[in-house]
């Protein structure tokens, strides 16, 4: 029983990180109706840049902040070179290939300087040996920190979207960019803002997951992005509560399958969930059907 609970709790924590990744993917999906498949590499960049900056003697807080800022800035570059030019030619799906290409470029770039081997990611706040006692279960402090931070970020995001002028602007652009522009909303700036936020979320998620796994390599991030994508589809693209529930359900399923069947089985569970959701409830748990304007 305790083993099951421990697995479930680890699943909840890892799942909350998937939810952040899902959130980042959804943000740019809302404003541009594209999915940025380069997101995974930005998780990796966030983590690798943190390691690099720490190695250069930068204090931990500044290193993490700079790495997150770098991920945000790179996302703006991705929008500029891999998404915007391709949206000019009507209903092109070229962004699927170009954003993937952008991600592969970042992987190659990092591999050139750091090699393809795993790099150790240092413990930032807690070590992997710190445990907290929650209702009689031994819980890793690192996992608990990930859960707390993720949930706090999601709540902040929800409040931003519902209550602030720029949050409303993001929703307005997502619904109808023409009407938003006519209301005086600078649509381009809202799109860029959504990419900065998406990149920063990727950076945060990258650092958090690397903290748990303890190592990072150039391929780090791609699987995570796929899991984030499954969480987003599962919860319903465009709903923050959906992303959180989807991410956590996925994390728990993955950890339980990993604990009782085989750790190699985790991804299989994720894809089984994806296929089941697409077959039974394509709009996701909390999603509304996407309405397409004629």
């Amino acid at each position: 029983m305790e083993f099951t609970l421990q697995l479930a709790f680890a699943g909840v924590c890892v799942g909350s990180a998937y939810a952040l990744i899902a959130m980042g993917l959804s943000l740019t999906f809302w404003t541009t109706r594209t999915l940025n498949f380069g997101q995974g590499s930005l998780l990796m960049v966030g983590a690798v840049a943190t390691v690099a900056l720490l190695g250069a003697g930068v204090p931990a807080v500044a290193a993490v902040a700079l790495a997150i800022a770098l991920a945000g800035a790179l996302m703006v570059v991705a929008e500029r070179v891999a998404i915007r030019p391709l949206l000019k030619s009507g209903d092109s799906m070229g962004w699927v290939v170009s954003t993937l290409g952008f991600g592969l470029f970042l992987q190659g770039f990092v591999a050139k300087f750091y090699g393809s081997q795993a790099i150790a990611f240092p413990s930032l706040i807690f070590t992997s040996l710190d445990f907290v006692d929650v209702f009689g279960i031994q819980v890793s402090a690192q996992y608990l920190a990930v859960l707390t931070l993720s949930v706090a970020l999601m709540v902040a995001m929800e409040i931003f979207l519902l209550r602030s002028a720029w949050g409303r602007a993001v929703r307005a652009v997502s619904h109808d960019a023409d009407v938003a522009a006519l209301a005086g909303i600078p649509v381009r700036r809202v799109v860029v803002l959504s990419f900065v936020a998406s990149g920063a979320l990727a950076g945060v998620a990258g650092v958090m997951v690397a903290q748990i796994t303890g190592t990072v390599d150039p391929q780090f991030g791609f699987n995570l992005m796929v899991l984030g994508f499954v969480a987003a589809v599962f919860g319903g693209m465009g709903s923050i509560v959906g992303a959180l529930v989807g991410g956590i359900a996925l994390g728990v399923a993955e950890k339980l399958a990993g604990g009782f069947i085989s750790t190699a089985f985790g991804d299989a569970v994720a894809f089984a969930i994806l296929m089941a959701v697409l077959a039974i409830r394509p709009q996701g748990l909390f999603g509304r059907r996407e309405m397409t304007k004629v």
Partner: protein
């Protein structure tokens, strides 16, 4: 005064608006008439900045705005209510008005602005928290009109405001349009396929056919011109 000179709008190889010259005097209502596909919507979108002008210039009060983005023009006081009930369906009436207000207001607070709007359409005041997507067509049109008016624009562009609405609602909407022009001195440009309706409130009118201005004149004169509908409006 809003002046359009030599305006051309192109979608690929199709010319939707061809070399149009139009003038809209301050504080008047101008009707843009024409059959479907005559270029009415494209003309209005070019004025508000949603589609680029391939040639020609657009000036408000002498200032050339042809190169400005739509959101810049909106802040200069051009409001455009699009055809086809385009509002934010998942947002409440209040939120729709707030989005319309907060990026182009000049100082006044939202409560004063929205109270003024609800005075004009008391029916909306009771539905403030309702998602706009759940309102009736007439109420939605009132929200669109309110959103377009909430920051007291100098220019108001209305594309087919009567489309798909019950006659009694259409009367209310058109009464409101007349009142806005009379009370606030707003310059209104109104596109309609129901010519008689538009001409009943307008001061002057332009008739478009295949992207060109083919007639212009006082609304009262065009209203009694029996040849108008047969010749240009497709019956």
């Amino acid at each position: 005064m809003l002046e359009v000179t030599g305006l051309v709008v192109r979608y690929g190889s199709i010319e939707a608006v061809r070399d149009c010259d139009l003038t809209f005097d301050t504080g008047t209502i101008t009707a843009i008439l024409g059959a479907n596909g005559a270029g009415k919507s494209s003309l209005m979108k070019a004025i508000s900045g949603l589609v680029p002008a391939a040639a020609g210039t657009i000036r408000i009060d002498g200032e050339d705005i042809t190169a400005l983005h739509a959101h810049r023009r909106a802040r200069l006081g051009i409001s455009h209510a699009l055809e086809g009930r385009r509002l934010f369906h998942s947002m409440s009436v209040d939120e729709n008005l707030r989005v319309a207000w907060e990026f182009r207001h000049r100082g006044n607070d939202f409560k004063t602005a929205s109270d003024r709007v609800f005075e004009r359409f008391p029916m909306l005041a009771t539905r403030r928290k309702t998602p706009a997507g759940l309102l009736s067509g007439g109420q939605q049109q009132m929200v669109i009109l309110s959103a377009a008016l909430i920051h007291e624009p100098r220019y108001l562009l209305l594309d087919e405001p009567s489309l798909g609405l019950a006659p009694v609602i259409v009367q209310q909407i058109f009464a409101a349009i007349s009142a806005v022009c009379r009370d606030s001195g707003t310059t209104i440009i109104l596109s309609e396929h129901v010519a008689a309706l538009a001409l009943s409130v307008a001061h002057q009118a332009y008739v478009l056919k295949q992207g060109k201005v083919v007639r212009k004149g006082a609304a009262s004169a065009l209203a009694v011109d029996a040849s108008l509908s047969a010749a240009y409006l497709g019956g």
